[in-house]
Amino acid sequence: MCQLRFRHAARIVACVIGLAILIDGRTASAETLYKFSGSALKFSPYPDALLTLTISDGAATGQLRPLLGDNTPTVAVNGTNPKDGILELTFSLPSGAKKYTFTKRIKGQQIGWYMETEGVSFYRYTDSPLSDAALTLSEHECGAAYKSLEAEFKRGVTIAGLESFLATDRDVSALPVAYDAGSDARDRPVRKTTDLGSRLKQGLKGKSEPFLFHAPAGVEPYLAKWLRKSGLFVKVDLDSGGCGGADRSYFVVNRGLLFDGNGFSQPKFEQYVATRLQEFASKDDRGTTWPFRLGQPRVTRINVPPYPSSYRIRMYTASEVTRRVPGWWDAFSVSLEPGELIDTKNTDYAVVVTVERLKASKKSPGNSNPPDDAYFTKELSEPDEAEVTVAISRYFSRRDGGWCVFDQEGYEREKHRSVCDGPPSR
């Protein structure tokens, strides 16, 4: 009896030791995927790429792979790990081998390898795989741009060729997109709406020049992959020149707030946004309560994978809440579009906040509530819209223990009263 127990215990110990050795071996030699950034390499039409690395016994081997949807051939990567925190990698490019020495830096849950002088780097998260958006889209100078896509046709592409490609997916071809057509008297872009197919045909008329279009948040990775696979484009990526966008603000919260067992839940999202918007509008930073009015929300579901939703509502709030400026009522339309962005992890979900048509009305002692639309006669500028955008993003993120991002490029810091907390890894 005692011998049997001993044998049983010995088996368990042997199993545990074996499993530990196996896990350790896998960890030591497992291929790790990094997001690579370095246009100096001229590896593909995109500034970013994907790097797989296996670091074992002081040696590093791997591949430099194109972003998802791009068919640039992979390139072998070899190197050494002479000491902890240093990596010497050689990229065997068709144009010749290039060697770089990288230094490791850890910021929060992000492990990054940098070669500052050449502007080449790569990173990964320790607690999450890279998102589909990160594997598909480039990260530009002003951070994780979204909604705005840049495309450039290859030479020789014909309308017939484009039309036959568009016919392969009518739903995606009919996706509503917007584009800027000049500017108005106040130097604000005039935005026109059309379907993706028509916009691409317009872009083809511009021959080999890059052109832009604004797609709903969340569908950018799918669109980029779909268009890249057509073989008609030199590149399809997030807008590379998009610094200073007033609407470039988003907050990231735990997926549990927006997901149920089956993935993203539209009813849960609607309820979450409706509740939080009311809370946001009712109280300023100092805890003073203010009257507010919300319009009828409009929830739409985009008919393109991953089928994101958009929540749009007209809000009438005190300027103390939105812009931290006393004495006004603000009226604006806000869109909240959830999606997986470049810097979201598998436990997070981002919501892109866009504020438009911001107008103000002076408060009157004769009325304690936000007035009728007829009183909102003062049109406010883009920095004011940015202020409201950030106030909303910041409220949502702080309320639910998340974080938010806003690109301040192009805005005077002294005028900017709300600040986003930024992701923990930055």
């Binding site: 408060k363 009157s364 004769g366 007035p371 009728d372 007829a374 009183y375 003062k378």
Partner: protein
């Protein structure tokens, strides 16, 4: 009621009303919901008819430095009409101002300007006639008067 009394009452209504309209229009801009340009436009739009009548009333007041002639007794209808229309004009302007002050739904600064224009147009004819009858230099009849008949000093009597 006598001519002199009517003239005095109407002059006080118009002069005081014009001053209050001007003041309240500016206050709507300073403390109320109107923006600077809207407030100036409001004052300018509310002023023309009242302003012209107020000028005539002011001239009348200035001419009566020592005394205002009592004049003849007027009919009740005359008294009612000459007091009612200036009062109604000022009241209508203040109703419009109040609607803006409490930010009545559907009645914004643009609607206010339209309303003020309509009020000015409607009352312009009546106020012109009343002004001419009470404070005008020429004219005759029961209500009509010249400066000589409207205001007489004690010495001239």
């Amino acid at each position: 009621m006598y001519q002199g009394q009517i003239r005095t009452i109407v002059a006080v209504i118009i002069l005081g009303g014009h001053f209050l309209v001007f003041l309240c229009g500016l206050l709507l801009g300073v403390f109320g919901p109107l923006l600077g340009t809207d407030a100036v436009q409001t004052v300018l739009m509310a002023s023309p008819v009242l302003g012209v009548t107020a000028t005539a009333a002011l001239m009348f007041a200035l001419r009566g430095e020592v005394d205002i002639a009592r004049g003849q007794k007027v009919t009740g209808l005359f008294a009612f009409v000459t007091i009612f229309f200036p009062s109604a004009l000022i009241l209508c302007i203040f109703i419009v101002f109040y609607a803006v002050y409490v930010q009545l739904t559907g009645f914004g600064p643009e609607q206010m300007k339209i309303a003020l224009g309509a009020i000015e147009t409607f009352f312009g004819v009546f106020l012109g006639a009343i002004s001419d009858t009470l404070f005008g230099r020429q004219g005759g009849g029961k209500g009509g008067s010249s400066s000589g008949s409207a205001v007489r000093t004690k010495a001239s009597r």
